[in-house]
Symmetry: D2
Subunit: 360 residues, 4 copies
Amino acid sequence: MNSFGHILRLTTFGESHGPAIGGVLDGVPAGIVIDRNFIQERLDRRRPGQSSITTSRSESDRVELLSGIFEGRTLGTPIGFVIPNTSSRPADYDKLRDVCRPSHADYTYMAKYGHRDHRGGGRASARETACRVVAGAICLKALSDMGIEVFAYTSSIGGIECAKQASQVDPAGIETNPVRCPDYNAAEKMAEEIKKVRGEGDTLGGTVTCVIRGVPAGLGEPVGDKLHTMLGAAMLSINAVKGVEFGDGFAAAAARGSEMNDAFTAAGADGKPSFATNHSGGIQGGISNGADIVLRVAFKPVPTLMRPVEGALASDGRTITLDCGGRHDCCVVPRAVPVVEAMAAISIFDAILLNRSSRI
Amino acid sequence: MNSFGHILRLTTFGESHGPAIGGVLDGVPAGIVIDRNFIQERLDRRRPGQSSITTSRSESDRVELLSGIFEGRTLGTPIGFVIPNTSSRPADYDKLRDVCRPSHADYTYMAKYGHRDHRGGGRASARETACRVVAGAICLKALSDMGIEVFAYTSSIGGIECAKQASQVDPAGIETNPVRCPDYNAAEKMAEEIKKVRGEGDTLGGTVTCVIRGVPAGLGEPVGDKLHTMLGAAMLSINAVKGVEFGDGFAAAAARGSEMNDAFTAAGADGKPSFATNHSGGIQGGISNGADIVLRVAFKPVPTLMRPVEGALASDGRTITLDCGGRHDCCVVPRAVPVVEAMAAISIFDAILLNRSSRI
Amino acid sequence: MNSFGHILRLTTFGESHGPAIGGVLDGVPAGIVIDRNFIQERLDRRRPGQSSITTSRSESDRVELLSGIFEGRTLGTPIGFVIPNTSSRPADYDKLRDVCRPSHADYTYMAKYGHRDHRGGGRASARETACRVVAGAICLKALSDMGIEVFAYTSSIGGIECAKQASQVDPAGIETNPVRCPDYNAAEKMAEEIKKVRGEGDTLGGTVTCVIRGVPAGLGEPVGDKLHTMLGAAMLSINAVKGVEFGDGFAAAAARGSEMNDAFTAAGADGKPSFATNHSGGIQGGISNGADIVLRVAFKPVPTLMRPVEGALASDGRTITLDCGGRHDCCVVPRAVPVVEAMAAISIFDAILLNRSSRI
Amino acid sequence: MNSFGHILRLTTFGESHGPAIGGVLDGVPAGIVIDRNFIQERLDRRRPGQSSITTSRSESDRVELLSGIFEGRTLGTPIGFVIPNTSSRPADYDKLRDVCRPSHADYTYMAKYGHRDHRGGGRASARETACRVVAGAICLKALSDMGIEVFAYTSSIGGIECAKQASQVDPAGIETNPVRCPDYNAAEKMAEEIKKVRGEGDTLGGTVTCVIRGVPAGLGEPVGDKLHTMLGAAMLSINAVKGVEFGDGFAAAAARGSEMNDAFTAAGADGKPSFATNHSGGIQGGISNGADIVLRVAFKPVPTLMRPVEGALASDGRTITLDCGGRHDCCVVPRAVPVVEAMAAISIFDAILLNRSSRI
C-alpha cells in the first residue's frame, strides 16, 4: 500500500493538488539530534524551479514537523509531517478530467479504483516523493552520526554516460553542476542535450547511481529481506523507475565467474578483510560485506511531452491527440538524485535496526 | 526475514544439508483444485541433474504436502510442506568450515551471525529456491484457472542473446531445449558456450525474461507496493540475482519520451483499450494496464569455479587459494527459469488478492 | 509501533502538546461516500468539556482531512488528517519535567527512550485516541452502508452495573444521558457517584460494552488473527484498558459446557441458522457466526487524582507527594465509548477486507 | 492469518488429522544454546493422556527440528519443525462430515471457506497449540539465559479459585499436582470437581494466571503494540480463550484511582525504583515498569460433552441431537498452562528484540 520498511516504517499520503501531502516516519530510535534546516535543505534539492534545467514551475515545499521531536532530539515516537500544496491551480487540469494520457497512471488508477483525482496526477504525481526526502533526511542524519555516507549522482542522461566509476566519485563534486553529474565533461553534454531536447518538446530519461560508504558487514536478512530486496524495492517504488541493478548488475550476467569474483585481501589490523574488486556492489548472499554498496536505477523519460501527444484515451473509448500544456521537466533525473538518496537511507537505517536482532 | 508477500505469504526454512528444507504458504484462498503431480513436475524442472548442461549431482527433491489441502482442494488454511535433504554428504564440506569463499555468502553470514552452517552454503544455498517452486506451483494453478499465464525463458547466457521479442514467444517452445531459450539458434550457441566454459572450469551468468499474460488492469498498490516493487522484490530475493528491469528498462533510460510512450488504441467491444506498443512492460504508475507484463532478471555467474579460486579467506585472516571440488552447475540460468516463474506467480496472486480491496 | 490493522491500516502520530496530532488511514477501498460533518460529530463525542460529568477543560478538536477523499468519495488512496493542538499551555507542565507520576507512563517512557515530552503525557496522552475516532468514523460509515451497526455503551462505573443485557439495548437510548448508559436508573446512580467521588478528588474506572450487529458469518482468520485477537488487540491498545472479554467471558470460565453451548436453531428461509443463545458473543473458533458480536472492556480509574498523590518519583531517585493540578476527568469511561466504537469499526472493516480472500 | 509476532515471528500449519502439524519460528537471534530434550519436555507437558485428569487419548507428539540449529546453537535462520500426527483415526469422524457441532468452529469454518476438514476439528483443533509450545520452548530458553522467568498456573476451575496471590507463587510448586494449581487445597477441590463433572458427561472452564519475572522496564511499543496488546493478542489467539486481563484487570474497573495507584518506592543501589503495590500487573502506559507482569486468561468449558448435545446443525438446515463420542478432556485448563507460558515467552522475546531499536 503506501508504506515502506520493517522496523523503521514510512507511510505517506496526499494527492498533488489536495490540501497537503505528508507522512509518518515510525520506528525512529530516540535520541537522534535533528536540525530542521537540514531537512528543509534536502527538500529544496528536490523542488521544482531550482535551476536552469528543471521546470520553471516553482514550488516552495515547506515541511512542517508535527511530532516525534522534542527539544531537538527524536523522542522514539512517530514523526508526523505535512507539506502544504500551495501552488495548486486545479482549473489547469480540467481537460484531463475525462482523458487518460498515454504511459501515465491515469488509466491504471481508473481501472483499479473506478475514479481518480485527475488534477496533476493526483496520488501518482512525483510530488509524493517530497515526503520521502523529508523522512530520508532524518535517516541520513542518523547514518551520518554512525559514519555512514549515502550519496547519489546522475550517471547517464539520454545515453550520455558519466565516465567516472562509483569508487572514484567525490560526493563534494556532485552539486557543482545542475545535472548532478561528477564527470564535468559529461555534465556539460547532458545539460546541452536537455536544452536541445526540451526545445523539441521531447523528454529524456537517465540513470542515477547511488553509493553507500561505511556500511558495516552483516546488513540484510536471508532470503526474504536481502539487502538487494530492501534497497531494490525502495528504488522500484520511485516514480518512473523501470529497473535497478547492484554492482556490475546486467553486465555481470554477460561475464564469466572468474571475472566477477571479488577476492578477499588479507584482514587488516581491525581483523576485517578488504576486497580486491567490488563487482558485487558490496552485497553477497543478500548481506553487506563492508565494501561500498553501489546500485544504479533506470528512470524512463517522463511521458508528458511539451507538444501534443497521440494516442490519449477519451472517455468514449476513442483515442485523441492531446496537448497537456503546463510546465514540466524535460528530464527529472537530476531532481530524482535526492529521492534515491532518501530511499537508500531509509532502507539502510531499517536494515541496521533489523540487524540489532541478529545475535543474542 | 524469510517471508514474501502480503496477504498471500510464503515463509521458507531449511539449510541445504540439514534434515530438510520446507515452507508454509499462508493466505491461499479455499477451493483451488490441486494436483500433487503438477507440483512435483514443477519441482523436477528445477532439480539438479535433469539435463546434459546442468550439474551431474542428482537430487530427487520429493515434496511432502502436510496440510491445507483436503480431498483435492485447498482449505484456506496454511499449506505446510517439506522436502527432505537426501543426498547430504556433510564430510564433503569439512574444508569449508573455517574458510570463506570469495563472492559467496560465507563471510557475510559470519559477519552477521557469528557462526554458520558451512555445509553446502547452508541457508544461503540456492537449494532454498525449491521451496519457492512448490509454493509457486500452487499459485500458477490458481492463476491458470483465472486465465493468467506465467512463463519465463532464458534470454541470454554469457552475452549470447535470444533474438525473439517477449511478445513473439510461444511458451510451448521453451522446454524443447535444455537451456530453455525459445530462439533455437541462440539456444544451440548457449549450450555450446556452456560446454566450452565448463571445460575451462569457469562459469557463466545470464538473464531470464518473464512474461505474464492475461493479467487484468488494476493490479499493484500506489507508492509502497507498486507492481514493480512487488515483482522486483520477489526477483531480487533469488540467489545470484543482481538486477531487474521492466519493459524496456535500462534501454528506456537512454531513449526519448516520444519513443517510449505506449499509445492507446481505441477500446474494443469489451470497453477495454489496447496499446500500440508495450515499452512499459504492462505496468504504468506501478499498476498493471492489462498488456503483457514483461520483466528481465540478471543472474551473475556462480562464484564457485570448477578450478581453484584465489582470494579465499582463512580463519587466521590470510587469503588462500581454494579448490572447492564438488559438482556444480557451470550456468544456473536454465534451472532458474522455474524459480523466476514461481516468484512471479506468487507476487501476481498476492496482488490479485490485495486488489480485492480496491473498491467498496 | 504506532499502527493497527492488516489490509486496512491506521498509523497515528502526535504528542498532546506538540503542534498537532494526526494519522493516516491506508487501505480504504475507493467509492465510499464521506460526509465530513459526520466525522466531526464523532470527534465531538470524544472531546473534553462536552458535558457536566467530564473535565471542564474544553478542546475544540477540529479535524483537517488532507487526502484520500475527492468529490465526496474515497479515492482508495491513504486518508491523511491532522488535529491541531490549540489549547496547549506547556508551562502548566513544568513541574512534571523531572518527576514521574505513579501508575502513569512517565517512568516507563523514560526507561524505554531515555527522555520524554513531559507536557500533558506527551505521546501517552489519551488525546491520541481522537485520531482513532476520526479513522473509526470513516469505517463506521462504510460498515453502515453494508448494514452493519456498531455501538458501545457504559456498562459499569465504580461497580455500578448496567442491568440491561447487550441483546436488549437500543442504541438510540445511549446518548440520552451523559454517562452513555442505556439503563437510565443505573445511569443516574453512575452520574451521582462521579459527582461524589470527584468531590473527594478521587477517580473512577468502569467498563464499556460494545455490540456489533449485522456482521456476516465468516470474519476472522484461523489461529493468528482470530476475531478475538483482532478486536481484543484493538481494545487493549486503548489508554487505561486492563482487560477485555467476549460473550460471557470470565463468567464462562466458571460455568459448565452444558450451560455455555449456543444451540443452533433451524436455518431460516435464507439458509442461515440462528442461535438459541449467545454465550459465545458471536465468535466461535475465532470466526464470526453471524450473531451479535459482544465484548466488554475494562478501564482502570485514571491515576491522576485531583488531590496530592503519594509515591511520585523525583529525578534524584527519592519519592515525593505531588499535586498534579490541572483539570482532569474523574471518570473517562463515557468519553471512551466512541473510542471503543472506533476501534471496533476499524477492526471489523479490516476483517471484512481480509475475508475477501477467503475463497477463490 | 496463521502468524504471530513482529521481528520474532511464528507461523504454524496443520490440521489435526492430516499428515503432520508444524511451524516456522523466524527471527530467532543466532547463538542461543538449544537442548532438544528441553523442547520435548515442554511438549510432553501439553500432550493428552499425561495424567488422571486429562483425556485417556494418548498422543506421543514427537517434534522433529528441521533447521535453524547447528552444533547446538541457533543459526539466526528460521527454525522449521514438524510433529507427525500418529494416532489419526479418520473414520471416527465420519459422522461429523455433514454436521456442525454447537459452539464449535465447524459452522464458522464452513461459512468462511465453503468446505472444511471435518476430522477432529481440522485446523481449529487445539492440537495446533503443540506448535506454539515448541516455539515457546526456544523462547523460554533465551529468556532464561537473560534471567527472565515465565510461568503459569491454573488459577480457577469451575469457579474454584486459587487463593494464592501471583506474587506469592513459587513456580516449583505448580507441577506437584495434575491441575497445576499452587494452592494445594484448591488443587484438590478442582481435581474432585473435574472427576464429578466428568462423571456427568459435562465439561468445565477455568482461568490460567501467567507471571513473568525479571523483565526489564521499557518493553512494549507506544499505541499500536503496547505490551497489553502483544501479550493480549497472543492469549486471545489460544483456542477456547474468551478473555484476558492484566494486573487487577476487571476488578480495577470497579475501584477508585486512590486504591489502584502503584506508588514508587525510593530507587535502590542500581538506580531503579521499586513499587509498593502491583495493581498495574507490571505494565503502565503499555510499557513494562520492571515489576512482575501478571495476566489472567479465561478459558470457556470445551463444548464437546461426553453425552449427547442438542442443537447441532445438519446439512439440510435442521437441528439434531448429536453424540460426539470420542475421548475428550473434561477440562483443558491444566493442559493449557504450558500453552499460555509459550505464548507469553514468544511475545516477551519479540518485545525485547523490538526494544533493541528504542534508542540510537
